[in-house]
Amino acid sequence: MEELDGDPAVTLIPGVNSKKKQMCFDWGPGEMLVCETSFNKKEKSKLVPNCPFIFIIRKDEDVYSQILRKLFNESHGIFVGLQRIEEELTGKSRKAQLVRVSKNYRSVIRACMEEMHQVAIAAKDPASGRQFSSQVSILSAMELIWNLCEILFIEVAPAGPLLLHLLDWVRLHVCEVDSLSADVLGSENPSKHESFWNLVTILVLQGRLDEARQMLSKEADTSPTSAGMCRTLGDLMRTMPILSPGNTQTLTELELKWQHWHEECERHLQDGTFTSSPHLETLCKIMLGDEAALLEQKELLNNWYHFLVTRLLYSHPTVKPMDLHLYAQSSLDLFLGGESSPEPLDNILMAAFEFDIHQVIKECSIALSNWWFVAHLTDLLDHCKLLQSHNLYFGSNMREFLLLEYASGLFAHHSLWQLGVDYFDYCPELGRVSLELHIERIPLNTEQKALKVLRICEQRQMTEQVRSICKILAMKAVRNNRLGSALSWSIRAKDAAFATLVSDRFLMDYCDRGCFSDLDLIDNLGPAMMLSDRLTFLGKYREFHRLYGEKRFVDAASLLLSLMTSQIAPRSFWMTLLTDALPLLEQKQVIFSAEQTYELMRCLEDLTAGRPVRGEPDAQRLQDDDIETTKVEMLRLALARNLARAIIREGSLEGS
């Protein structure tokens, strides 16, 4: 066992005093049942539990959020699409695909975040407003982490473009600047706005130098004294060498140009170009990557990773991926200044800067309240072939482990279980067994739902589950007195034993009522009739009745006889069949031939001879036996007379 990564969280159950009372629990797939026991150490006589409830404790409550449901559903589509990305796709096109998938995931997170934000604003009571707001910040952190992982692990940006990506990352997540900008520009005199210099500083911190220059020109227009300085700083901003995506210049060229530019800035500062304007001087210092000047802007930087990116922009614009973690660590230390300790989010980002994917996933698993994030991110990184070597000491690999956890959570939900199926499908080792175990536990309240579950099983050739579902439905139908439905389901399950049971019920009903029910089904059994002997008998017996009804007596008679001689008819039913023969024996014309009559007689004798010797007869049985004896005698008489007629007829036919 590995050691624990943190203390387990304590969940208090309202209404239960666990200090005084013994608790008992049972595990479920995604939840746990907890209740008080009546066990009492001191007074054994008192067995009254104080708390009459059984509590369901859910591990993953995010599954029950209305808004997050959209995240689960939408990302399900992206996940399935990702699994279908052709394996053959290699190199650039594959990478482009994976980046697109990653961006799709992020846009779903953002959409969710925006909706959650709207709901938080509209919330009527402060408590739920706070809850939604905290969800917003969780989603925002997810997106922040995902975006960084995308840059570092999926995009794998080299030195140069790396910084551009990081700048975009910071700009996307520190976005208050846009509303501030609108605010300042909307005012009558922007350069006199109280936040004017804050705005310019933020723009510089984020490397948005074009916008910063425009702001400075506004300042230059209104205060002639500083116009010259503004122009000089603006020129420095304009001439800062940056790597543009379409540019073909090499890194060395860039570094060289950048060095010149840096020296020029340095010279202006040395010469005291900006001494008369502290604002402009600060900006110049920032552009020189002066750490002290940067740290003075803590408020505007918001967080250490913004500090990191700004610092890199103005001091190491061509930072290599492998050196990132050095700057990240020192930025974190400088920014926090020993005043506070890093939070989980800081640790996760730091792990990413260190290119320690497993640490990122581990920290996220601990910090986040649901499996959605780690499951999808890990799967995506696995598709980037970054997790190949990592196997867990339990179950399968990490990707599969996380997907299984996530899918199990979905299956615990009354409605989202359908999404879980596809996730199990793409877990090669344990997915199938997990699906088999979960799918059997889906409550089937309508046939329509049952059909959906059946389709899932049939598509995956899960014969055992298909049988079990059909059996459940057949049993239900029997309980509801829907024999036709029950038979249909047992035929579908190819469940011979159950088909026999249902057929017996049909035959019993026939004996009771003297007519068949559900003819629309029995008359259309077709090849399904062969499923069980009893079902075959039911179908054939019904055919006998149809032939008889159509007055096709000869066909009816031979069918009746064959039912007995071929042993398809259960012996318990022979007397009924022989009784059915009576009206045929009594017809005007001879229907049973002599040969057939002999056969019938043999059947009758077999039946009567095989009677077990009974014990003490009671009144009821005596009466039954009486009826039976009369029946047998009537049959013997009819058979004898028919035999006589048949012999005469056959004899005279031969003679003529």
Partner: protein, 394 residues
């Protein structure tokens, strides 16, 4: 086809229906109703597609459909039909049939009339009964016909508290759907592949006609009647088969068209074929040479049997997959006079003339329901999304 808009709604959608436009009006479809299923709480909801031909003013997403109002529904919504402009009839998995009334003034829905035990099972030998899901309804003001898993057919009138007519044990298997043929005749489909015609003028519980696919016993899940040629009927089956029937002739379908069939790629190299249950089939009400189906595999198809199709194969490979479709005709039908029959019934040239287009870009979970009205189509899925398009024939 024009753009199709999707909206995720946090509930699995079992039914979608356009509110009918008043007869003779030039209005286009604007409001539709949906029902949800398999949630702890299910809802019947009304949505407006608003004015998304124009640019949106209040910052909302262009083309999005907005919720007007909703109301709790006990049990899964199994079927949903507009009774008139204001009233919606819903069938529940609890066997209950409810008429909801829409109040446009304050945008609310209320229960107008309810038959709580319209469908139920009676246990063997005991008078106690348990509820049975109501699976289908069809309305023709003032009448409502309902069918259920209990094999029962009910005829209700909106203003009557009791059923006007009930046929117990009408079917030995589950009835899946019902539609009017010609009043007072109805048509039902069941889980053993039979299509039955019932005439309410006749007493007793026997259908006036039974049609079936020979021997296959493949369950039929939906049925729709051609809007102008009342003898032409389309059904969708569990195996993805679309069948066109001429109820005047014979007992077998005139043509079988297979489209809802696909190959699923599981575990990267295991290829499995799946059957794809067709949940709904609808003739276009005013353009009946067009037909629409949706299925459990998440596909939504447009079948075009109009004769003036210039090119067919080009559209056919949309969505990156080749769709096979076969049509075989039943030989003894071939000599029916060509001039009289509908484009759906002609046999020898069917293969060349029906064009099938997939309307949804990617397929995952089941499309449970669809409805068409004028140039508009709405469908709802198990992936909790509602799709709407306003330009079907562009």
């Amino acid at each position: 086809m024009g753009e199709i808009y999707a909206k995720f709604v946090s509930q699995k959608i079992s039914k979608t229906r356009w509110r009918p436009v008043p007869p003779g009006s030039l209005q286009t479809a604007e409001t539709f109703a949906t029902g949800s299923w398999d949630n702890e709480e299910n809802y019947v909801s009304l949505w407006s597609i608003g004015d998304f031909g124009n640019l949106d003013s209040d910052g909302g997403f262009e083309g999005d459909h907005q919720l007007l109002c909703d109301i709790r529904h006990h049990g899964d919504v199994m079927d949903l039909q507009f009774f008139d402009q204001e009233r919606i009839v819903a069938a529940s998995s609890t066997g209950c049939v409810t008429i909801f009334l829409h109040h446009p003034n304050n945008q609310t829905l209320s229960v107008n009339q309810q038959w709580t035990t319209a469908h139920y099972h009676t246990g063997p030998g005991s008078p106690s009964y348990s509820s049975a899901p109501c699976t289908g309804i069809v309305c023709d003001n003032p009448e409502i016909v309902t069918v259920g898993e209990d094999g029962r057919i009910n005829l209700f009138r909106a203003d009557h508290k009791e059923a006007v007519r009930t046929i117990n044990n009408a079917d030995s298997s589950t009835l899946h759907a019902v539609t009017f043929l010609r009043t007072p005749e109805i048509l039902t489909v069941n889980s053993i592949g039979q299509l039955k015609i019932w005439d309410f003028r006749q007493q007793g519980n026997e259908p006036s006609q039974i049609l079936s696919l020979t021997g296959d016993r493949v369950p039929l899940h939906c049925v729709d009647r051609h809007p102008s040629q009342q003898h032409v009927v389309a059904t969708g089956g569990q195996d993805g088969m679309l069948s066109i029937w001429d109820v005047r002739q014979g007992t077998m379908p005139v043509s079988l068209l297979k489209a809802h069939e696909a190959e699923t790629n599981l575990h990267r190299n295991k290829l499995l074929r799946s059957y794809l249950l067709v949940w709904e089939v609808h003739f276009h009400p005013s353009n009946p040479d067009h037909l629409f189906t949706c299925s459990e595999d998440g596909s939504l198809w447009h079948w075009d049997a109009s004769t003036d199709v210039p090119e067919k194969s080009s559209l056919f490979h949309q969505g990156g997959r080749t769709s096979t479709f076969l049509s075989h005709s039943i030989s003894n039908q071939a000599n029916v006079q060509q001039s009289l029959i509908s484009s759906w019934l002609s046999t020898d040239t069917t293969k060349d003339r029906i064009e099938i287009t997939s309307l949804l870009p990617s397929r995952t979970l089941s499309v449970n329901s669809l409805d068409v009205l004028g140039p508009c189509l709405v469908c709802g899925t198990d992936a909790e999304a509602i799709y709407v398009t306003r330009q079907l024939f562009v």
